[in-house]
Symmetry: C2
Subunit: 400 residues, 2 copies
């Protein structure tokens, strides 16, 4: 039915199989005998389709994909055995007929609402389910060659948007005017239309254009620089603030292609930055470039955090590093994939050894209250001997 | 800090008070002694701010708003007493110190993830919580004059987007090209940046541009016409399909202003529709216009559904009405407000008597497999003697 110029690759069948095998190893390690997966993103990851349904992965037998609709589309997209159902109630009879509901079951407890969980608990006549989410997140943490290919396509949208930004940003425009034009550019390049972030109350727009003081307010969102937004009903993102000469303009963009998200930040200025902001920008760039030079498979994430914090401290900028006051966040990087907040999270405390195929965003940023915010975010693939950039956009401050 | 041309109205203090009073009446009726509210939208509705926090409403005393951050912004936006906290653990000591954790508590069980619920259950030393969501949804169902003012501002964004669509839509454009341009128009007019839809796995974009056969595929989403999307990872929305002469083009847009959503659909065609589609369009319009002529305060929603279905049946179009085959949905309208899927839902089964101040979208649509989809969606405020339209865009098919 598609008549456009391109279509997205389906997830290869052998890849689905290998994901399920890796997940079953985690299930065995956690003593979980059957997994019931309902979240859109996890469903897509393990089945290759995002139709309305329930995926059951028994430890000892083949996965079953129950689909309410669309049957035809699920069959075309997924290599798994598909069982049509009219509703959740049908699932119990089939599972208990096959003897699957024995032993310890698991569900996605970090995203599944209590009422859905309770209904399913009654349907399955099970006392409680273990939390699958840590296992799922671990399996998803290491990306395959197929996934990295999708992320590089996502990175091309990113490059196109940052390139177009040089033409779009002008003195006197409001933040939302810049956002409107650049989101349109991303969509025309095939952006999937929205970004996914795991967890309760997580709301995410595709692009944050934040200029001058708008970048200095601590916000509810778990990010360093979230912007004012246009309403206190949704207090994040681009605002009605007008872009002014010699003020930093931050663009934090999430590209999405075939499910896969890249997430980078660049800084622009019409004119030039004052010395303090320019210095902080340089420190951001040094942190990214020097991390890219030493980190690789085997590096511990805590070492990356420590390195960045020490750099900020040496530059006497630690007070402003990763936010100011109550707005300070505890991470300088985060995993990326089908969701914007995957693991590894790069903090002082969560020690994780980098492995080839992990993908993460590194985002050293500084917030100077009453002045403005500045920083860079760049995405990396972990390789055996190095970190590999996903996008091609240079890390330089763009002076217009 | 805002330097733009307008700012959104804060929720009036007396309105917050009246919302809480109405909610306390529902709590008393359901024998709930204290409510713990954590969802962004409900938090905003009852407090006037959307900062990271927890709202506790005890039946017998004043509400307490616990805020992690941003304190200053919460204080500026909310009339409630604000208690700073470092994390959820702090809440227990304060609540138990005040003797609030006695009797039956309630939480939002339709949106709260199991892991958050369990953590809070342990913090509060409570066996289980009742579900607050039905009560909250009932309180939110009837809109105040303030809320209707916001919805009319949202409707102005809608009108601007539909008006601009007449200039934008052209033969040979892809659906995503039209979407990109019109979303940009909406954002420049002050669109809040995203739409909220309540519940698990609900993902919603602002605009769906769907042409020809792209509108005929049943999808996972709970809507009649959801589109193909650009990837099976997110299989809804505008696609790469190219708009062709004499094919219907459906625009389903959600405007959002100061939290409040309007949701309308119009149909466009370059050239003209075939007789079957044109006839179905006329039936859609008749259903909306005739419903607007008889419905008012006191009308039962089931009567609206029956009326519409009978109309479709009389036109021998019931097979295609509200979807075809497995894609058929059971509703022809839904409430609107801070979320896209509020109550009342207009179905054959959920009987609800309309009351002044309810706001709903009425969306008679037809899906003809292999040909295309057609229909209209328009938003109404229930008044004592009539239904009042929110937007000004005419219901006519737009021939370009």
């Amino acid at each position: 039915m598609r008549t456009g110029t391109e279509t997205c690759e389906l997830t290869p069948h052998e890849e689905i199989q290998s994901r399920i095998n890796r997940f079953k190893e985690k299930m065995a390690g956690a003593d979980i005998h059957f997994s019931i997966i309902m979240g859109n993103v996890d469903l897509f990851y393990f089945s290759g389709t995002t139709q309305r349904g329930i995926l059951v992965i028994p430890l000892e037998s083949d996965p079953l994909l129950f689909v309410e609709r669309n049957q035809e589309r699920a069959r075309r997209e997924s290599p798994l055995t598909i069982t049509p159902i009219a509703g959740h109630g049908d699932v119990h009879d089939i599972l208990s007929g096959k003897g699957i509901l024995r032993g310890r079951g698991g569900m996605e407890l970090d995203i599944l609402p209590v009422s859905t969980y309770e209904r399913f608990r009654r349907i399955c006549e099970v006392d409680s389910f273990a939390d699958l989410s840590p296992l799922i997140r671990e399996v998803r943490m290491v990306k395959s060659a197929f996934e990295i290919r999708q992320m590089k396509r996502s990175g091309k949208i990113m490059d196109a948007v940052f390139s177009r930004a040089r033409e779009v940003i002008q003195e006197g425009m409001r933040e939302i005017d810049v956002e409107a034009e650049l989101n349109a550019e991303g969509r025309r390049r095939g952006h999937q239309g929205l970004l996914r972030m795991r967890g309760f109350n997580q709301e995410m727009m595709c692009l944050y254009v934040i200029s001058g003081q708008a970048g200095t307010l601590p916000t509810a969102a778990d990010v360093t620089i979230a912007g004012l937004g246009v309403t206190h009903a949704l207090p994040q993102g681009s605002s009605l603030n007008v872009i002014q000469r010699n003020q930093p303009v931050i663009l934090d963009y999430g590209a999405g292609y075939n499910g896969y998200i890249t997430d980078e930040t660049r800084a622009f200025v019409i004119g030039s930055l004052n010395e303090k902001l320019a210095r902080a920008y340089d420190v951001s760039r040094e942190i990214i470039e020097e991390t890219a030079a030493f980190a690789r498979e085997g590096t511990e994430t805590t070492r990356i955090f420590e390195f960045a914090r020490n750099r900020a401290r040496a530059a006497k900028l630690d007070e402003y590093f990763m936010g100011y006051g109550e707005g300070k966040v505890g991470f300088i990087g985060h995993g990326l994939g089908l969701e914007l907040n995957e693991i590894p999270v790069i903090t002082a405390r969560h020690r994780q050894t980098l492995t080839e195929g992990m993908v993460f965003a590194l985002e050293p940023k500084f917030v100077f209250p009453g002045e403005g915010s500045i920083g860079i975010e760049a995405d990396f693939i972990v390789r055996k001997e190095t970190l590999e950039r996903i996008t091609k956009t240079p890390l330089d401050l763009v002076c217009l």
